[in-house]
Amino acid sequence: MTIVPLLWLLAVTLTAGWQKIFSRIPGWDFCPMRPPSLARLQEARSSPLRGARLIFNDRLDALMVVIFVSVVLLVVLSSAWEWLQILRKRKPAVVRESPFVETAYAN
């Protein structure tokens, strides 16, 4: 039941991550793969400090995208591997819940 939202969120996240890094459309991406966009260069010309900061921000954002996308992929893939092993009965399904203790409250 929760696999559908998971797949949807993965599709959304990874598409957005991909577009933010590899997109060729100005304004969509943080352009880590190519020289800074014309708009950024124009800003840099009018105000070198601000322009340099914007370009640095873009690069930093792109780095963060890479890190977060890798973490997402790592968590999803390792969880999928765990599930696969449990479904193939190579590993017992263990739940590490705290033991049952009867409540003292009157319900």
Binding site: A16, S98, V101, T103
Partner: protein, 552 residues
């Protein structure tokens, strides 16, 4: 419901009612299924709050107080900001995502994590991932959680600081909630344990006093400077408060203050909902705008995936998993409370998001973009802003945009009149004249020509919406394009009289081609418009017979 009303103006009340109806069904059935069949919540099982009660962070708490705490922790500025930004795509995609996303994903996530943490002595998300899946996943999750915390708290703290900067009223009211929270905390825990209602009543009265007192302070020249602070000073205050709230026992400050602020937030949102149901404001933003192609001025990116990224809180937000595996599971008194707090709390937040979307959608589209588009795009002065926004509605395909070369390649599909004064009679001739370009004709936008207006979109090749002959269920005449040239509000009976629309006319470089139905319709109706002025109402049967087209 929305589809049934296509072509008419929809009141914002429909959004509210549709959302509430979906939440009720989701809570009654889906959350019950999760609670009983999947989690098997058991009130006989002692919760961590009971077993590990230490009077600091593990502390059994009344479910409504805990609901208040949980809601205040998950619902920051996110559910208000996200939907407003995503409204640049139109109100429909965001609303559908908020309503269905929360029922099937967001509320389920909060509930699952709260349940998981509650059954594991209130462990954090990272610890649970480490134990259940493996050390690598656990460490990756912990790194992600920490980074998200840093970024998110920085953004939220910045919003708080900016909102309170130079605002003595806000600072006084917020500061006053801290001693009120102490009073409530001691009342509920030490002086009169279990008397939640008494503490609630005291808290609400004092909260209103603080609200009114804030106004007095702001207007008083000797007191106002005491509560007027700069950004950095407020930032230090927020940091100091964060430290205090974390090290003090949770019942003393954090819990009652969250409970109190939830009253304020839910109260405002419910009042807004009641207001919408009473006033029935029409949704002025189109269901979809042309900015779904990724050229939006508020933020760049296509409808997929960015509408679903922008609206996180309200539909599904990973940050909630941190709250659900943080303070809340350590305070649950009974297992069955997790359903109300985990699932119900998130539904409430989604409702906040729907209200934010409704608030954005009842604005005039021109005004909405004027508020939300970056200042650099709008040019800095009211005149330049009006000019730029007007071009988003009326730009010729060949004109060059001052904003983005890509945007200029897109044809006009959006209502220009939204950026202009409401009443047609108030329009100066000159402001309407630029619309009558060589390749355009200005016509009265009435129900009779609705199909024609829908049909035109220069440069668009994809066929979509069908044109039908007059009358309900008339035979299909041909395919037109799906994009809206005008916002829905102008298309209903009665209200459209005198509005302007843009149609291909003589002098167009393109052959009529697929637009021939549209052209025929316009020519047929022009004489009527010219003779008596725009018809205000669709009041007679013979008009229905005359009108050759209606929108499919």
């Amino acid at each position: 419901m929305l589809a049934l009303h296509r072509g008419e103006t929809i009141s914002a009340a429909w959004l509210v009612l549709a959302a509430v109806g979906t939440y009720l069904v989701g809570y009654r059935f889906y959350s019950r299924f999760l609670a009983e069949k999947i989690f098997e919540l058991d009130d006989r099982r002692a919760t961590p709050a009971e077993r590990l009660d230490n009077g600091r962070d593990y502390c059994p708490t009344s479910r409504w107080v805990l609901f208040g705490h949980h809601f205040a922790a998950i619902a920051g500025a996110g559910p208000l900001v996200g939907p407003v930004l995503a409204a640049q795509f139109g109100y429909l995609p965001g609303t559908i995502w908020i309503v269905f996303g929360v029922v099937f994903a967001g509320a389920v996530q909060d509930f699952v994590i709260l349940f998981g943490s509650m059954r594991r002595d209130g462990k954090s998300l990272g610890q649970m991932a480490k134990e259940e899946i493996g050390p690598v996943t656990g460490i990756a999750a912990m790194i992600a959680v920490l980074s998200i915390m840093i970024i998110l708290l920085a953004v939220l703290a910045l919003m708080v600081v900016n909102a309170l900067k130079g605002s003595p009223w806000g600072v006084f009211t917020i500061a006053a909630t801290i001693p009120i929270a102490f009073l409530m905390g001691f009342w509920m825990k030490v002086w009169r344990p279990g008397r939640t209602m008494e503490a609630t009543a005291i808290g609400i009265v004092l909260l209103f006093a603080a609200l009114l007192g804030g106004r007095y302070v702001a207007e008083n020249p000797s007191l106002a400077p005491l509560f007027t602070y700069s950004g950095p000073a407020l930032a230090y205050a927020v940091i100091g408060y964060g430290f205090l709230a974390s090290v003090l026992p949770v019942w003393m400050l954090l819990l009652p203050r969250d409970y109190l602020s939830t009253f304020m937030k839910i109260g405002v949102i419910l009042l807004m909902a009641v207001g919408i149901l009473l006033v029935l404001p029409p949704l002025k933003l189109p269901a979809l705008t042309r900015f779904i192609d990724g050229t939006g001025p508020v933020f760049a990116g296509k409808l997929f995936p960015f509408a679903f990224i922008t609206i996180a809180c309200g539909a599904i937000s990973g940050f909630h998993a941190l709250v659900s595996s943080g303070t809340t599971p350590k305070m649950l008194r009974r297992e069955s409370d997790a359903r109300l707090i985990g699932y119900g709390g998130m539904l409430m937040e989604s409702f906040v998001a729907v209200m934010a979307m409704a608030a954005a959608a009842v604005l005039d589209p021109g005004l909405y973009f004027a508020i939300n588009a970056p200042l650099a795009t709008l040019g800095g002065t009211p005149e330049s802003a009006a000019r730029v926004i007007q071009t988003w509605g009326s730009r010729s395909p060949r004109s060059r945009s001052p904003v983005s070369p890509r945007r200029s390649a897109k044809p006009p599909c959006w209502d220009v009149s939204a950026a202009l004064p409401h009443s047609p009679s108030a329009w100066p001739r000159s402001s309407a004249m630029p619309l009558a370009r060589a390749d355009r004709a200005v016509v009265s936008l009435r129900d009779h020509v609705r199909g024609a207006l829908h049909s035109y979109r220069a440069g668009c090749r994809e066929p979509g919406r069908a044109l039908h002959a007059a009358g309900a269920g008339g035979p299909r005449l041909g395919a037109t394009r799906p994009h809206l040239l005008v916002s829905e509000q102008h298309l209903r009976f009665g209200a459209g009289g005198g509005r302007l629309g843009i149609l291909p006319g003589a002098g167009s470089p393109r052959s009529a081609g697929r637009d021939q139905f549209a052209l025929a319709a316009v020519r047929h109706q022009q004489s009527a418009a010219g003779r008596r002025g725009p018809l205000r109402r669709h009041h007679a049967d013979h008009q229905a017979r005359q009108s050759p087209l209606r929108a499919g």
